[in-house]
Amino acid sequence: MSLFRLPAELISNILEYLDCKSLLAWREVCRGFKASVDTSSLLRYQIALYASGMQDGPPGPIAVADRLAKLEAYDEAWRNLEWKAHAESALPSTSLWELYGGIWARSKGRKTLVFRQLPSRTRGVEERQWEVATDVVLRDFGLDSCQDLLVLVEKLQSGTNLCSVHLRTLSSGARHPLAPKSGILEYERPIEDTARTDWSYSIRVSGDYVGILFLNDPAALCELFVWEWKTGVLRLKIVEPQMRSFTFLEVFYVLVGAIESNTGPGFPSLFAYDLHELSTQGLGIEDTPSVCSFQLPLAAPNRPAWELLMSCDPAPNWFPNPELGTPFYTGEDDRLIVLNLQFLVAPVIRSHTIVIHSRVLSTVIATLRRDGGEKVIPWEAWQHGCQLLPEHGHWSTWSCSTFGMRYVCPKPIQRGGVRMVRVRDFHPTRVNRAEEAARDEAGIYGLPQFQHVLPSVIKEVPLPDQLQNSARLQLMISEDNIVALEVSGSLAQSAL
């Protein structure tokens, strides 16, 4: 007896219990099986979600067949990178700004923020703009649309070293209902430094955690704070001059980038900390108990790194604001962590961009947690999940060059008088689906210890005409848009 004899209804019943990978194998068994999948919108949608690395959105009025059509259009749009819309807006040079989770935000004056929900044609997200007038003199801010959270760092008053971080709602600027009663996280800065105003801030929100990294030059007083924002409890404090950047890795881990560590002859490293373990004494990066550290390569022996920048969006477990009713969104499992590693080769600075599949780090950590072992992970042991990019160019600290598994080269690329936007897609199933010609698998681009590569698909398209002559563009990427920041002070955004 063969499955062939089963009524179609039963076949689709069986397929409901299969994962997408098995469904794809099933589809290739024979003609009848292929038809059993291809005639079902639900199964095709499940396969398409898997193949495009997306996740189904909240239940809503959008029918499965409609979701499938939108997903195919979305996928197509990213494959072809055809501009569907273009908008520009001015950005005063004194403005603070932020691009996160499809929201572009900038400050207006000293206390007001302007938010703009970037639109998506294919996912049916409407553009929306709103202003939040706060009572806080802003030094910097961060946001998380899925929790309606706005994190405001208040400008430090002279003569005090007690700083305040205000937890507000993104929609209205009121105290966030889930924040502690005061709505404020407080922290102390060393008194000798409070007079300075040239601090850089790096603010990230991931689920229950808010992390703020204070950077300055000289770097002697760089500090990282991570709070559980709903209780106001400080979980992690690190004081370390070598510290340059941080991001969240999975729900409970923080990844901190340091340009030099004692783990080897001056290797730059990524340190992973577990937020279950309370470490608030403000120790150095090596003295704070870490899960492990990932060594990074050097450009040449005895030439320490000069800067280590990190870009990784969105945060683990991020999901879009449910009110948007998006039919699907970027999946949880895969993220790129993109590093910009800079070396001083007098008189110039050379920078290398290293792309890491977050899952490689998670896997190493999980294995270490289960089996124990050496805590310093040499570069050779984890570089198989990385790619070194040939396109160089410095970033600014606040570059948003990656979203999910896509990366946009921050600088336009010259091709015979035309300036191109280059987007690389590292998602494994999307890479597998791409035609051979578009893939980029070879790549030993300069760092001597580099052997393995993470394959990607490259797509280049000319910048929109309006931007061909703009000087000093910095390109950024979100879930649906390519955003170009003109350093002279305007913002252009081209939607897919």
């Binding site: 007896m1 039963l10 290739e28 003609r31 193949a51």
Partner: protein
């Protein structure tokens, strides 16, 4: 084809108040079973409603062997009196059936038997059993390659070589 046999309830000893049904399998075996055991089957329930409407009870002919039928009766006897959401005609259609340990053991049979049971359960409209069988079949092939699936399910590859290599038949890897 077996002939339709009239059944007189009073001639068959029953237990409690449940009436008896006569089921006839494709190999012409007559199997007597209590009506409430089989009430899980929408098909049987509809037949019984028909009997009541016409005040005429007769044997129910089924297109599968007594071997399979006995297996289905075993299932229905095990869950006699149990409420299973999938079998509630008034409940909203549920998605996947939950994992039920007893079912897993009960369905630990060879492939052909499993396919026969799911067909019988489908015919009899016993959704809980269809769900458990579907889960069991999916378990056999989950994570397997296309080639392994062909072997497990005994299915021939009927794609032409051109079709097999065309991009439309290969969705992703």
């Amino acid at each position: 084809m077996p002939t339709i046999v009239s059944v007189d309830d009073s001639t068959v000893p029953g237990e409690g108040s449940s009436r008896l049904l006569l089921l006839v399998s494709s190999d012409n075996k007559h199997i007597v079973v209590e009506e409430d055991i089989m009430s899980r089957s929408r098909f049987i329930s509809k037949q019984v409603e028909g009997f009541e409407a016409t005040s005429q009870r007769h044997a129910i002919l089924l297109p599968f062997s007594s071997f399979v039928l006995n297996k289905v009766i075993e299932y229905c006897s095990h869950y006699r009196g149990y409420y299973l959401l999938e079998d509630d005609p008034d409940a909203a259609p549920p998605g996947r059936s939950p994992v039920r340990e007893w079912d897993q053991e009960f369905l630990d049979v060879d492939r052909n038997m499993l396919l026969r049971i799911i067909k019988a359960a489908h015919y009899l409209e016993i959704k809980s059993l269809v769900g458990s069988c579907a889960r069991a079949i999916a378990d056999m092939i989950r994570g397997k390659t296309t080639e392994e699936m062909r072997e497990i399910l005994g299915v021939e590859n009927d794609f032409t070589p051109e079709e097999e290599h065309s991009p439309s038949s290969k969705c992703t890897g």
